[in-house]
Symmetry: C2
Protein backbone atom coordinates (compact mmCIF):
# COMPACT_ATOMS: atom_id res chain seq x y z
CA UNK A 1 0.00 0.00 0.00
CA UNK A 2 2.71 2.51 0.98
CA UNK A 3 4.54 1.53 -2.20
CA UNK A 4 2.01 3.52 -4.21
CA UNK A 5 2.49 6.58 -1.97
CA UNK A 6 6.22 7.38 -2.26
CA UNK A 7 5.98 10.84 -0.60
CA UNK A 8 4.08 9.43 2.34
CA UNK A 9 6.39 6.43 2.67
CA UNK A 10 9.40 8.73 2.60
CA UNK A 11 8.01 10.93 5.38
CA UNK A 12 7.25 7.83 7.49
CA UNK A 13 10.79 6.60 6.94
CA UNK A 14 12.36 9.98 7.85
CA UNK A 15 10.21 10.34 10.99
CA UNK A 16 11.10 6.77 11.96
CA UNK A 17 14.78 7.77 12.20
CA UNK A 18 14.03 9.96 15.25
CA UNK A 19 14.86 8.40 18.63
CA UNK A 20 12.00 6.55 20.31
CA UNK A 21 9.83 6.73 17.18
CA UNK A 22 9.14 3.35 15.60
CA UNK A 23 7.23 2.48 12.44
CA UNK A 24 3.75 2.69 13.97
CA UNK A 25 4.33 6.04 15.68
CA UNK A 26 5.94 7.40 12.50
CA UNK A 27 2.85 6.41 10.49
CA UNK A 28 0.56 7.98 13.09
CA UNK A 29 2.59 11.23 13.04
CA UNK A 30 2.58 11.27 9.22
CA UNK A 31 -1.21 10.90 9.14
CA UNK A 32 -1.54 13.67 11.70
CA UNK A 33 0.70 15.95 9.59
CA UNK A 34 -1.33 15.09 6.50
CA UNK A 35 -4.45 16.50 8.17
CA UNK A 36 -2.79 19.76 9.23
CA UNK A 37 -2.99 22.96 7.24
CA UNK A 38 -0.16 23.51 4.75
CA UNK A 39 1.22 26.45 6.84
CA UNK A 40 1.71 24.31 9.95
CA UNK A 41 3.64 21.63 8.09
CA UNK A 42 5.75 24.31 6.39
CA UNK A 43 6.39 25.94 9.78
CA UNK A 44 7.84 22.66 11.07
CA UNK A 45 9.97 22.19 7.93
CA UNK A 46 11.27 25.77 8.22
CA UNK A 47 11.97 25.37 11.94
CA UNK A 48 14.09 22.28 11.15
CA UNK A 49 16.18 24.07 8.53
CA UNK A 50 16.53 27.32 10.54
CA UNK A 51 17.61 25.43 13.66
CA UNK A 52 20.35 23.69 11.68
CA UNK A 53 21.41 26.97 10.05
CA UNK A 54 21.43 29.21 13.16
CA UNK A 55 22.52 26.97 16.00
CA UNK A 56 26.14 26.34 16.86
CA UNK A 57 28.23 26.15 20.01
CA UNK A 58 29.66 28.90 22.19
CA UNK A 59 33.35 29.38 21.34
CA UNK A 60 34.23 29.61 25.07
CA UNK A 61 32.11 27.02 26.92
CA UNK A 62 30.60 24.96 24.03
CA UNK A 63 27.05 25.55 25.22
CA UNK A 64 24.41 25.85 22.49
CA UNK A 65 24.40 29.33 21.05
CA UNK A 66 23.10 31.34 18.12
CA UNK A 67 26.02 33.75 18.39
CA UNK A 68 29.79 33.62 19.05
CA UNK A 69 29.28 33.59 22.85
CA UNK A 70 26.33 31.91 24.58
CA UNK A 71 23.88 33.74 26.86
CA UNK A 72 25.77 32.65 29.98
CA UNK A 73 29.22 33.66 28.72
CA UNK A 74 27.96 37.04 27.49
CA UNK A 75 26.30 37.77 30.86
CA UNK A 76 28.64 40.08 32.82
CA UNK A 77 26.88 39.23 36.11
CA UNK A 78 28.30 35.69 36.20
CA UNK A 79 30.96 34.62 38.70
CA UNK A 80 34.03 33.97 36.50
CA UNK A 81 35.95 32.24 39.27
CA UNK A 82 33.70 29.19 39.15
CA UNK A 83 33.23 26.82 36.19
CA UNK A 84 30.67 24.01 36.23
CA UNK A 85 31.62 21.11 33.94
CA UNK A 86 28.66 19.21 32.40
CA UNK A 87 28.36 16.48 29.79
CA UNK A 88 25.66 17.95 27.55
CA UNK A 89 23.90 21.29 26.92
CA UNK A 90 20.75 19.66 28.38
CA UNK A 91 22.55 19.29 31.73
CA UNK A 92 23.48 22.98 31.66
CA UNK A 93 19.82 23.85 31.01
CA UNK A 94 18.75 21.70 33.98
CA UNK A 95 21.16 23.56 36.28
CA UNK A 96 20.02 26.94 34.91
CA UNK A 97 16.38 25.98 35.58
CA UNK A 98 17.29 25.37 39.24
CA UNK A 99 18.50 29.01 39.56
CA UNK A 100 20.99 27.71 42.13
CA UNK A 101 24.26 28.49 40.34
CA UNK A 102 25.68 31.81 39.22
CA UNK A 103 29.08 30.77 37.84
CA UNK A 104 30.11 29.84 34.28
CA UNK A 105 29.99 26.50 32.49
CA UNK A 106 32.00 24.17 30.29
CA UNK A 107 30.19 21.56 28.19
CA UNK A 108 32.28 18.44 27.49
CA UNK A 109 29.87 16.97 24.87
CA UNK A 110 30.17 13.47 26.28
CA UNK A 111 31.96 11.50 28.96
CA UNK A 112 35.10 9.38 29.01
CA UNK A 113 34.35 5.84 27.85
CA UNK A 114 37.46 3.77 27.03
CA UNK A 115 35.29 0.83 25.89
CA UNK A 116 33.74 3.02 23.18
CA UNK A 117 37.13 4.55 22.37
CA UNK A 118 36.20 7.97 23.81
CA UNK A 119 39.26 9.58 25.41
CA UNK A 120 39.92 13.14 26.73
CA UNK A 121 40.75 14.43 23.21
CA UNK A 122 37.31 13.41 21.92
CA UNK A 123 35.68 15.67 24.52
CA UNK A 124 36.20 19.39 25.17
CA UNK A 125 38.75 18.58 27.89
CA UNK A 126 41.81 20.13 26.15
CA UNK A 127 39.74 23.32 25.64
CA UNK A 128 38.85 23.27 29.37
CA UNK A 129 42.51 23.00 30.37
CA UNK A 130 43.47 25.90 28.06
CA UNK A 131 40.60 27.95 29.51
CA UNK A 132 41.70 27.28 33.09
CA UNK A 133 45.17 28.59 32.26
CA UNK A 134 43.77 31.84 30.80
CA UNK A 135 40.90 32.59 33.19
CA UNK A 136 40.92 33.35 36.95
CA UNK A 137 39.12 30.08 37.85
CA UNK A 138 39.27 29.04 41.52
CA UNK A 139 36.73 26.21 41.62
CA UNK A 140 35.54 23.62 39.10
CA UNK A 141 32.19 21.97 39.92
CA UNK A 142 32.22 18.63 38.09
CA UNK A 143 28.51 17.97 37.38
CA UNK A 144 28.96 15.04 34.97
CA UNK A 145 26.28 12.32 35.23
CA UNK A 146 26.24 9.90 38.14
CA UNK A 147 26.89 6.95 35.79
CA UNK A 148 30.04 4.86 35.36
CA UNK A 149 31.25 7.10 32.50
CA UNK A 150 30.29 10.31 34.30
CA UNK A 151 32.04 9.25 37.50
CA UNK A 152 35.16 8.20 35.56
CA UNK A 153 35.23 11.60 33.86
CA UNK A 154 34.83 13.34 37.24
CA UNK A 155 37.72 11.34 38.77
CA UNK A 156 39.94 12.02 35.74
CA UNK A 157 39.24 15.77 35.90
CA UNK A 158 39.68 15.87 39.69
CA UNK A 159 43.13 14.28 39.37
CA UNK A 160 44.50 16.67 36.74
CA UNK A 161 42.80 19.82 38.09
CA UNK A 162 44.00 19.28 41.67
CA UNK A 163 47.57 19.04 40.37
CA UNK A 164 46.98 22.48 38.82
CA UNK A 165 45.94 23.81 42.24
CA UNK A 166 42.26 24.27 41.42
CA UNK A 167 39.54 23.32 43.92
CA UNK A 168 37.37 20.53 42.47
CA UNK A 169 33.86 19.84 43.83
CA UNK A 170 30.98 17.56 42.84
CA UNK A 171 27.21 18.03 43.48
CA UNK A 172 26.02 16.01 46.50
CA UNK A 173 24.48 12.55 46.21
CA UNK A 174 21.32 12.00 48.26
CA UNK A 175 17.59 11.53 48.40
CA UNK A 176 15.69 13.71 45.88
CA UNK A 177 13.34 16.36 47.33
CA UNK A 178 9.80 15.14 47.95
CA UNK A 179 10.62 11.45 47.58
CA UNK A 180 9.46 8.57 49.64
CA UNK A 181 12.37 6.59 51.16
CA UNK A 182 10.50 3.38 50.34
CA UNK A 183 10.90 3.94 46.59
CA UNK A 184 14.53 5.09 46.50
CA UNK A 185 17.15 2.54 45.41
CA UNK A 186 19.23 1.23 48.30
CA UNK A 187 22.58 2.48 46.92
CA UNK A 188 21.24 6.05 47.06
CA UNK A 189 19.82 5.55 50.56
CA UNK A 190 23.17 4.17 51.74
CA UNK A 191 25.07 7.14 50.24
CA UNK A 192 22.57 9.58 51.74
CA UNK A 193 23.03 8.07 55.20
CA UNK A 194 26.83 8.03 54.84
CA UNK A 195 26.77 11.73 53.86
CA UNK A 196 24.30 12.74 56.61
CA UNK A 197 24.47 16.31 57.94
CA UNK A 198 23.89 17.68 61.42
CA UNK A 199 20.71 19.76 61.76
CA UNK B 1 17.68 29.48 28.69
CA UNK B 2 15.64 28.68 25.57
CA UNK B 3 14.84 32.39 25.31
CA UNK B 4 18.37 33.00 24.04
CA UNK B 5 18.02 30.24 21.42
CA UNK B 6 14.99 31.32 19.32
CA UNK B 7 15.58 28.78 16.48
CA UNK B 8 15.86 25.92 18.93
CA UNK B 9 12.83 27.07 20.95
CA UNK B 10 10.80 27.36 17.76
CA UNK B 11 11.69 23.81 16.68
CA UNK B 12 10.77 22.48 20.15
CA UNK B 13 7.45 24.33 19.95
CA UNK B 14 6.67 23.01 16.43
CA UNK B 15 7.59 19.41 17.38
CA UNK B 16 5.45 19.73 20.52
CA UNK B 17 2.37 20.24 18.33
CA UNK B 18 2.57 16.64 17.10
CA UNK B 19 0.20 14.19 18.79
CA UNK B 20 1.66 12.33 21.77
CA UNK B 21 4.75 14.57 21.85
CA UNK B 22 4.98 16.77 24.95
CA UNK B 23 7.55 19.37 25.90
CA UNK B 24 10.19 16.94 27.17
CA UNK B 25 10.01 14.61 24.16
CA UNK B 26 10.05 17.62 21.82
CA UNK B 27 13.25 18.88 23.49
CA UNK B 28 14.82 15.42 23.26
CA UNK B 29 13.92 15.16 19.55
CA UNK B 30 15.28 18.67 18.90
CA UNK B 31 18.60 17.77 20.56
CA UNK B 32 18.76 14.58 18.54
CA UNK B 33 18.15 16.54 15.32
CA UNK B 34 20.80 19.06 16.34
CA UNK B 35 23.39 16.26 16.41
CA UNK B 36 22.46 14.87 12.99
CA UNK B 37 24.24 15.78 9.77
CA UNK B 38 22.71 18.72 7.86
CA UNK B 39 21.57 16.38 5.02
CA UNK B 40 19.44 14.22 7.31
CA UNK B 41 17.61 17.19 8.81
CA UNK B 42 17.07 18.62 5.32
CA UNK B 43 15.76 15.23 4.14
CA UNK B 44 13.11 15.33 6.87
CA UNK B 45 12.18 18.94 6.03
CA UNK B 46 11.90 18.08 2.33
CA UNK B 47 9.86 14.95 3.07
CA UNK B 48 7.38 17.09 5.03
CA UNK B 49 6.94 19.61 2.22
CA UNK B 50 6.83 16.98 -0.56
CA UNK B 51 4.23 14.93 1.31
CA UNK B 52 1.98 17.97 1.62
CA UNK B 53 2.55 18.89 -2.04
CA UNK B 54 2.06 15.43 -3.58
CA UNK B 55 -0.55 13.73 -1.46
CA UNK B 56 -4.24 14.12 -2.00
CA UNK B 57 -7.28 11.86 -2.07
CA UNK B 58 -8.55 9.50 -4.75
CA UNK B 59 -11.42 11.19 -6.62
CA UNK B 60 -13.45 7.95 -6.54
CA UNK B 61 -12.93 6.34 -3.10
CA UNK B 62 -11.14 9.13 -1.14
CA UNK B 63 -8.22 6.86 -0.24
CA UNK B 64 -4.81 8.58 -0.01
CA UNK B 65 -3.33 8.95 -3.46
CA UNK B 66 -0.57 10.73 -5.32
CA UNK B 67 -2.60 10.66 -8.55
CA UNK B 68 -6.24 11.16 -9.65
CA UNK B 69 -7.15 7.54 -8.82
CA UNK B 70 -5.58 5.56 -5.96
CA UNK B 71 -3.69 2.29 -6.39
CA UNK B 72 -6.79 0.20 -5.56
CA UNK B 73 -9.15 2.08 -7.92
CA UNK B 74 -6.65 1.94 -10.77
CA UNK B 75 -6.15 -1.84 -10.32
CA UNK B 76 -8.30 -3.60 -12.95
CA UNK B 77 -8.13 -6.90 -11.03
CA UNK B 78 -10.41 -5.62 -8.26
CA UNK B 79 -13.97 -6.87 -7.80
CA UNK B 80 -16.11 -3.80 -8.64
CA UNK B 81 -19.30 -5.35 -7.26
CA UNK B 82 -18.07 -5.03 -3.67
CA UNK B 83 -17.26 -1.82 -1.80
CA UNK B 84 -15.77 -1.82 1.69
CA UNK B 85 -16.61 1.34 3.65
CA UNK B 86 -13.97 2.43 6.19
CA UNK B 87 -13.54 5.50 8.40
CA UNK B 88 -9.91 6.39 7.63
CA UNK B 89 -7.19 5.58 5.07
CA UNK B 90 -5.36 3.80 7.93
CA UNK B 91 -8.25 1.30 8.16
CA UNK B 92 -8.03 0.64 4.42
CA UNK B 93 -4.29 -0.01 4.81
CA UNK B 94 -4.98 -2.48 7.64
CA UNK B 95 -7.43 -4.44 5.46
CA UNK B 96 -4.99 -4.40 2.51
CA UNK B 97 -2.26 -5.78 4.79
CA UNK B 98 -4.52 -8.75 5.62
CA UNK B 99 -4.71 -9.69 1.89
CA UNK B 100 -8.21 -10.99 2.64
CA UNK B 101 -10.26 -8.63 0.48
CA UNK B 102 -10.22 -8.09 -3.27
CA UNK B 103 -13.05 -5.57 -3.73
CA UNK B 104 -12.97 -1.76 -3.81
CA UNK B 105 -13.18 0.77 -0.95
CA UNK B 106 -14.82 3.99 0.10
CA UNK B 107 -13.19 6.11 2.80
CA UNK B 108 -15.67 8.20 4.84
CA UNK B 109 -13.01 10.32 6.62
CA UNK B 110 -14.77 10.05 9.97
CA UNK B 111 -17.85 8.61 11.58
CA UNK B 112 -21.26 10.03 12.45
CA UNK B 113 -21.18 11.84 15.78
CA UNK B 114 -24.24 14.01 16.46
CA UNK B 115 -22.73 15.23 19.76
CA UNK B 116 -19.76 16.70 17.84
CA UNK B 117 -22.06 17.99 15.12
CA UNK B 118 -20.79 15.50 12.52
CA UNK B 119 -23.64 14.46 10.21
CA UNK B 120 -23.70 12.48 6.91
CA UNK B 121 -22.85 15.59 4.85
CA UNK B 122 -19.61 16.10 6.80
CA UNK B 123 -18.45 12.63 5.71
CA UNK B 124 -18.10 11.18 2.21
CA UNK B 125 -21.56 9.59 2.49
CA UNK B 126 -23.26 11.66 -0.30
CA UNK B 127 -20.33 10.67 -2.60
CA UNK B 128 -20.87 7.00 -1.63
CA UNK B 129 -24.56 7.18 -2.53
CA UNK B 130 -23.79 8.80 -5.90
CA UNK B 131 -21.19 6.10 -6.55
CA UNK B 132 -23.60 3.30 -5.73
CA UNK B 133 -26.04 4.67 -8.32
CA UNK B 134 -23.37 4.75 -11.05
CA UNK B 135 -21.44 1.55 -10.33
CA UNK B 136 -22.58 -2.11 -10.41
CA UNK B 137 -22.21 -2.56 -6.63
CA UNK B 138 -23.93 -5.61 -5.12
CA UNK B 139 -22.50 -5.68 -1.60
CA UNK B 140 -21.25 -3.00 0.80
CA UNK B 141 -19.01 -4.25 3.62
CA UNK B 142 -19.31 -1.64 6.40
CA UNK B 143 -15.96 -1.86 8.18
CA UNK B 144 -16.30 1.26 10.35
CA UNK B 145 -14.79 1.00 13.85
CA UNK B 146 -16.46 -1.04 16.56
CA UNK B 147 -17.01 2.10 18.66
CA UNK B 148 -20.25 3.94 19.42
CA UNK B 149 -19.71 6.32 16.46
CA UNK B 150 -18.60 3.53 14.13
CA UNK B 151 -21.60 1.35 15.00
CA UNK B 152 -23.98 4.31 14.58
CA UNK B 153 -22.49 4.98 11.13
CA UNK B 154 -22.86 1.29 10.22
CA UNK B 155 -26.52 1.23 11.29
CA UNK B 156 -27.23 4.46 9.39
CA UNK B 157 -25.63 3.13 6.19
CA UNK B 158 -27.34 -0.27 6.56
CA UNK B 159 -30.75 1.42 6.75
CA UNK B 160 -30.37 3.58 3.65
CA UNK B 161 -28.47 1.01 1.56
CA UNK B 162 -30.93 -1.82 2.21
CA UNK B 163 -33.72 0.46 0.96
CA UNK B 164 -31.70 0.80 -2.25
CA UNK B 165 -31.60 -3.02 -2.55
CA UNK B 166 -27.87 -3.40 -1.78
CA UNK B 167 -26.61 -6.23 0.43
CA UNK B 168 -24.94 -4.75 3.54
CA UNK B 169 -22.49 -6.80 5.63
CA UNK B 170 -20.20 -6.07 8.58
CA UNK B 171 -16.95 -7.87 9.57
CA UNK B 172 -17.52 -10.44 12.33
CA UNK B 173 -16.99 -9.67 16.00
CA UNK B 174 -15.10 -12.30 17.98
CA UNK B 175 -11.95 -13.37 19.74
CA UNK B 176 -8.74 -12.16 18.00
CA UNK B 177 -6.42 -14.88 16.63
CA UNK B 178 -3.83 -16.11 19.09
CA UNK B 179 -5.46 -14.55 22.14
CA UNK B 180 -5.96 -15.99 25.54
CA UNK B 181 -9.64 -16.02 26.59
CA UNK B 182 -8.59 -14.94 30.07
CA UNK B 183 -7.44 -11.53 28.81
CA UNK B 184 -10.34 -10.73 26.45
CA UNK B 185 -13.02 -8.31 27.73
CA UNK B 186 -16.26 -10.05 28.66
CA UNK B 187 -18.40 -8.16 26.11
CA UNK B 188 -16.27 -9.63 23.30
CA UNK B 189 -16.37 -13.13 24.81
CA UNK B 190 -20.16 -12.91 25.09
CA UNK B 191 -20.50 -11.77 21.45
CA UNK B 192 -18.11 -14.50 20.30
CA UNK B 193 -20.17 -17.18 22.08
CA UNK B 194 -23.44 -15.78 20.72
CA UNK B 195 -22.00 -15.87 17.19
CA UNK B 196 -20.48 -19.38 17.57
CA UNK B 197 -20.09 -21.49 14.44
CA UNK B 198 -20.39 -25.26 13.93
CA UNK B 199 -17.09 -26.97 13.19
Amino acid sequence: MLGSLPSFARLVSELGKLPGIGGKTATRLAFSLLRRPQEEVEALATALIEMKRNLSFCSRCFNLSESELCSVCSDSGRDETRVCVVQEPQDLMAIERSHGYKGCYHVLHGALSPLDGIGPEDLKIPQLLTRLKQEPVEEVVVATSFTVEGEATALYLARILKQAGIKVTRPAHGIPMGSDLEYIDSATVQLAIDSRREL
